[in-house]
Chain length 219, copies 2
DNA sequence: CGCTTAAGTAACTATACAGTTATTTATGCG
DNA sequence: CGCATAAATAACTGTATAGTTACTTAAGCG
């Protein structure tokens, strides 16, 4: 060993560095992956700490208990999707074209964030117990509901959409059709002997969802 | 063919009685509830044995490991829904009326078997790993696909349904719309400040699904 | 500089957990 | 009856797990 002169910044050697923001972020990222892959009960705090490259003590320091960390992961995942939803700007085409964009936005977001789908599934197996205690979530309404509402009004005014469709129900319908295929494709694939993760199948399902929604909306 | 008369020979005294069928059944029932409530990782073998009122050793005797028991639970749940699907007899009304019955069957089955929905969600978080190894599941095709297929043909022939709809896609669409609402109503409820477990809301969603499917199928 | 505070570490603890051992007892069959 | 076998039990084992303790070290500030 070389001399342990640790007086000032010893550049040549590994020096313990402090970086709270990075530590928090890397714990959250590791926890998201762990909870998404194994569920609440299956996730291991030690595995999260290892994966994050931090000492387990710091995880407790920053986040409290395992349940607190789980809630933080859910809150972050919700904040992220709501932020993305807030940024959609629909093109200036017809209502049908805008609706198509909106459906494909949801489809793309779900495809690109499988961990969000898994967390959602896990938290619902848990009957929403963790999120129920989160005021932060209750404050985050989806910007999509309002966008869908005005799109529906516009479509009805132009005689392109049927009357009387509830924006919330339409939002949940779009989410249903996008979520179910992606989240449950493993059991669907086993049951029906098809590989639903094939890019061509995935592409086709997105178009199918557009077709179902626009078909339903016809006057 | 077994099950001769169970002669419990004694009376006032606590006698250890043997009943393999009952033991197996009660283990499966307890395991179904436990896995559905807590997921694969969260389920506890001791809790299942307690709940079933049997000694843990017997659980291992009948089912092997925890994973084996989990697979048995999934297989039974699948066998049950396939059996129910096989028994539907659609009325003699129009194709639209028959399709409505078919949608409402799915809706009712999901409502009455929340544990099936939770198991499905859990197994998909698990990426279908347990079911992937089950030849028994692969052999169980859904009888609904064929029924939907002939219904679609009939509707097209009568000029009531649009052409070119894939029965598998329609089946998955119906399942999506029914599953998502029920399985994810906890987080939906928190996010949107609505109690989606209200009987009136549940009733309305079933009708909405019928409306979406029939709306889409219009020529 | 020196001191306070927050960031960091290793090792520990008490309990929970999946799976096993050793043993006992009921039951069907010759 | 007597015996082989399957059903049942309690107590146990080695490890994993969430959470903690006791301590060290970097950074910011007067």
């Amino acid at each position: 060993m070389t001399s342990a002169v640790k007086r000032s910044k010893v550049v040549g050697r590994e020096v313990r560095r402090r970086d709270p923001d990075r530590a928090r972020a890397s714990i959250l990222a590791a926890a998201t992956a762990e909870f998404a892959a194994l569920g609440l009960g299956g996730a291991r705090v030690d595995a999260i700490a290892d994966q994050a490259g931090i000492n387990k003590r710091m995880l407790y320091h920053y986040f409290g208990t395992k349940d607190d960390l789980y809630r933080a992961v859910l809150e972050e995942a919700y904040a992220a999707i709501r932020a993305a939803e807030g940024e959609i700007v629909l093109g200036r085409g017809s209502p049908a074209e805008a609706m198509r964009e909106l459906v494909l936005f949801t489809w793309r977001y779900y495809r690109e964030h499988p961990e969000f789908l898994s967390l959602l599934a896990t938290e619902n197996v848990n009957k929403g117990a963790a999120l129920g205690g989160s005021a932060r979530i209750r404050a985050l309404n989806s910007p999509l509901i309002a966008k869908i509402g005005s799109l529906l009004d516009q479509g009805v005014a132009e005689g392109k959409f049927r009357r009387g469709v509830d924006p919330f129900k339409l939002y949940v319908s779009i989410a249903s059709l996008c979520f179910f295929y992606l989240a449950n494709r493993w059991t669907l694939g086993v049951s029906f002997g098809r590989d639903l993760s094939e890019p061509a199948e995935i592409e086709a399902w997105g178009e199918h969802v557009v077709g179902v929604i626009l078909g339903y909306l016809r006057p």
